[in-house]
Symmetry: C2
Subunit: 204 residues, 2 copies
Amino acid sequence: MATGESVPDRRRGPYAKSTERRRTIVAAAHAVFAARGYRGGSLQDVADRVGMSQTSLLHYFPTKSDLLLAVLNWRDSITGDGTAPSDPDEAFVDEIIRQAHFNESIPGVIELYTVLCAESVTEDHPGRKYFLERFATLRGVYARSLTSLAEQGKLRSGVDPERAAASLIALWDGIQTQWLLAPDSIDMAAALRDYFDLILAPRP
Amino acid sequence: MATGESVPDRRRGPYAKSTERRRTIVAAAHAVFAARGYRGGSLQDVADRVGMSQTSLLHYFPTKSDLLLAVLNWRDSITGDGTAPSDPDEAFVDEIIRQAHFNESIPGVIELYTVLCAESVTEDHPGRKYFLERFATLRGVYARSLTSLAEQGKLRSGVDPERAAASLIALWDGIQTQWLLAPDSIDMAAALRDYFDLILAPRP
DNA sequence: ATAAATCTCGAGTGGACACTCGAAATTCGA
DNA sequence: TCGAATTTCGAGTGTCCACTCGAGATTTAT
């Protein structure tokens, strides 16, 4: 057999403006998927928004689901949720409230998250694995922070950190949906503050 | 002008098996929309499931969005949420826990609700009005029940009925999403029970 | 400079989509 | 029974979809 490293591998890698181009594509895809969902949004929509042909788009992201995964990973890098372990324990609460306030300034990102998350539970959805893992790790991170608070006696007695972690995420996600439909009636940060007032030990 | 009631209006109304036929169509559409969403599901999918031609389906529901609205109204009639004012005030809590338990037996209905609710926030979605109204009335119904509990001194002091109503719905919706993705890790009824334990006045 | 690699895109492919049309089959009131 | 109304459906309309192909334009290492 003459198979060997006879091919010198003359690959040159992406050209200079390539990474920037990918960024604008992901940004456009983000908007399209937020406005129409993954199934409802089309590659043509994305290409039109970037101002390039649909064929060129496919040069950067060979399939639609590749593009979706790029958008989801990009979302992670913005919100960075579940990543920062919130160094001082007390700051856990403040950090979540701060993030909730910040979220009000980026409705598009919230819409993307809400729409794709629910869509991901449907048949053969390429985003399912992402959301499955996100929920699992986020529950773990929050549970650890709540356990830490409990050890300091700062959690109300009877509150289970694991279940409270899931409930906290659920409350947050759910209130985002209501906020998207009726932003003037819903105060996301207040809902989270209320919840922390309930699960934290009362000031003596 | 010779326009008058010269047309005797010989309409005969739907035939005998027509209403039953509509029921099976709505049931099939329910399954399709749950599994693939509104945009992702097709009329052909629904017709195949019923065993009729797509054209015949359109005889009963002239447009896809007509079919969606029929499915949403049918869902209301099953779960009947927001309708029963839960006559005795105390039963409010028990009724929600009971409903949460019952929901575990109808994952398809939960999936439908979760998927369509989030999808409804997207552009030009025919279900948006339905969910907008649902949230508004449900918040009202829950807030009234919680206010009633507060007047009996059964609500923990400091809990605002309006905000707690929105949070309760948010928690419920959010925990359903997590449950759909990881049914073995999530206990929906427990999450709601936990929340009521927090907002109800502690037993003295 | 030049050649190979990357980037771009026009032109398609095959299929799915919601919806229309006209006509046959069926039901039912009289 | 008979005729009109309802129900069924095959065939088609125009549109959009993700994705392919091949070739020209541009960039970059040498």
